[in-house]
């Protein structure tokens, strides 16, 4: 087995498990799989402005705060499903790796829209890529940085949840 192939397996596992944790809103478990200096960003290239935009930029504490404060905000009710495909893995050092994954984010409506008419319907919310960095800590690959590069720039009313 090549070194890259050997690396892919644990990273794929980490990325897919993280997607499931976010889908199921097990935010504490997701945070447990991130490094202490975790940084999370959502970015997109604006074809209107012809420049990059940053929609969200938080450190680990900032992301934790977003999760903790969710009950105090009105959130558009939907079940989220992240379809993630690992595309590339590149070792950056003995204990650091970067990866790129394609992301399709579907949501199935609960109370978003007319619950009677629209409830239960599934829609593509956004597509883009995860640009991740991992660091090996005590034998575990922890997510140290995630930049979500969205292609989708029409996000409806937006969301208090993160892709």
């Amino acid at each position: 087995m090549s070194e890259t192939a050997a690396l892919r397996a644990p990273l794929e596992e980490a990325i897919q498990r993280g997607a499931l944790q976010l889908d199921e809103r097990r935010f504490g478990e997701f945070l447990d799989s991130t490094a202490s200096d975790f940084r999370y960003r959502i970015q997109a290239y604006s074809h209107d402005l012809r420049k990059d935009m940053t929609f969200l930029d938080h450190d680990r504490a900032g992301i934790a705060a977003l999760f903790e404060l969710l009950p105090k905000h009105h959130v558009n009710g939907a079940e989220w499903l992240r379809q993630v495909s690992l595309q590339t893995v590149n070792r950056r050092g003995e204990t650091s790796v970067e990866s790129v994954s394609a992301l399709s984010l579907f949501h199935t409506l609960i109370d978003a829209g007319d619950a009677h008419v629209d409830g239960g319907s599934s829609h593509l919310f956004a597509v883009g890529r995860y640009h991740d960095a991992f660091r090996l800590v005590d034998g575990r690959w922890l997510l140290s940085e995630r930049t979500v590069r969205l292609h989708t720039r029409q996000l409806g009313i937006g969301s208090h949840l993160i892709p």
Binding site: K51, L69, H73, H74, I157
Partner: protein
């Protein structure tokens, strides 16, 4: 449903003492068509910021009241607007949302607006430069000099924003604005601004309901963020509305206490110290412009909302964030973060505002029964007063020749429209 509840539903809350509008102004497709002709095609509209056209030959495309437009900075530096329509056979000229004319397209030369269909070419000032095989086809019957792009009134003013007006020979923009911009002028005209954020949303609601959301603060009850950083802080209830001719409205400032929002790491790090020239730290001023734009200056970021109504129940809203053109990279990063933490598509406030107005769109549907929508809070023009709403509909009623509270006038008149029928009950039993 009982007879009592039916009657109560039909009656105005508060009787004749409380101002209201008839909700059918949001749900009637005919009224929307009239709005497009009498308001949107006859008003100065803020469409973008000059920083989006930073270089000569930069262009943006957009649509206003169903008219496709090009806004381009000419080779002479002047910003102009044209219909994005080839005068030859009506093809769309430019398809990209933004670009620079230096780049040639497959049908044309650099520095020109070229129609992909038959390769007619125009310069950045709208002048026709080339009609392929003109002599062979048109002989002396048509010269390039006979052809121009259709220019639309356009001005750059009030903080470097670009404004267009679809009408012919409209009164100057300054006449439309009056003195409404004066409260923001010291902060937005001291030095050049720059757009750093743009996103858009198509929302299932009537456009006026979004403008109303931007014109009243009573709905701060919806926002945990605004409650703790605003409503519960000193100065909130001292903020005042001021109304101006042509239905513009301003709201005076207060200091937003960002540190009150739990876990706001940026506030806790006391980093929200960027502002705009002359604006107190974490100050908050707002300007609502008829018929549908808002400049919201809060702390380190200026948010600008513009709307393109698509139908009576659908609106495209564009959200821009601006800082100072001279920002360092570090300053810009902080402004972007401050802006998007609250107002980005994943921010704390914007999804809630859009959720609220979407709910109105879902509740007030095409052909639904008219509801008396209260605009009746009178609190000496302070922050929960609804004077902004009332002021808007005075102008709206004047423009449309319909009262917002009685849009169909005398039921026996020429604009008579059968009011939505309510079920008739007799003795608690449905009679018909």
């Amino acid at each position: 449903m009982t007879l009592d509840s039916t009657l109560a539903w039909r009656q105005r809350l508060g009787g004749a003492k409380l101002p209201f509008v008839d909700s059918r102004i949001y749900t009637d497709p005919q009224i929307f068509q009239e709005e497009r002709e009498k308001i949107w095609r006859r008003s100065w509209l803020l469409v973008l910021h000059e920083s989006e056209l930073a270089e000569a030959l930069d262009f943006r495309t957009l649509s206003v009241a169903d008219e496709p437009l090009i806004v381009v900075r000419g080779d002479d530096g002047k910003v102009r607007a044209f219909l994005n329509v080839c005068p030859h056979r009506g093809a769309l000229l430019l398809r990209e949302p933004a670009g620079n004319l230096q780049k040639a397209n497959p049908s044309g030369s650099p520095r020109r607006i070229s129609c992909m269909f038959h390769a007619w070419q125009f310069d950045s000032r709208g002048k026709c430069l080339s009609i392929p095989r003109r002599n062979a086809g048109y002989q002396t019957r048509l010269e390039c000099e006979d052809v121009r792009l259709h220019e639309v009134a356009c001005e750059v003013a009030y903080g470097g924003f670009v404004w267009v007006h679809l009408g012919e020979n409209p009164a100057p923009l300054a006449e439309h604005m009056g003195s409404a911009f004066e409260a923001l002028r010291p902060h937005l005209e001291a030095e050049p601004l720059e757009v750093f954020h743009h996103h858009k949303a198509i929302v299932r609601t009537n456009y006026k309901l979004w403008h109303e959301t931007n014109s009243e603060f009573y709905h701060d009850y919806m926002h945990h963020f605004n409650r703790v950083t605003g409503m519960q802080q000193p100065g909130y209830y001292d903020r005042r509305y001021e109304t101006f001719p042509n239905a513009h409205v301003t709201v005076s400032s207060m200091e937003v206490r960002y540190t009150a929002y739990e876990h706001d790491e940026h506030a806790l790090a006391n980093s929200r110290d960027l502002s705009f020239p002359g604006l107190e730290r974490n100050g908050w001023k707002l300007l609502d412009l008829f018929p549908g734009a808002t400049l919201n200056l809060r702390g380190s970021a200026l948010r600008v909302d513009t709307m393109t109504p698509l139908s009576h129940d659908r609106v495209l809203i564009e959200f821009r964030g601006l800082g100072l053109k001279r920002d360092t990279a570090e300053e810009r990063e902080r402004r972007v973060r401050d802006h998007n933490t609250i107002w980005g598509p994943f921010g704390r406030n914007l999804p809630e505002d859009l959720l609220g107005v979407t709910g109105q769109g879902l509740a007030l549907r095409t052909g639904s029964e008219g509801l008396h929508m209260l605009h009746g809070r009178i609190e000496d023009a302070t922050i929960h007063d609804e004077t902004g709403l009332r002021h808007y509909y005075e102008e709206w009623s004047r423009r449309l020749g319909r009262l917002a509270s009685a849009p169909y006038g005398d039921e026996s008149g020429p604009r008579a429209k059968e009011p939505a029928r309510l079920p008739v009950f007799r003795g608690g039993v449905l009679a018909q």
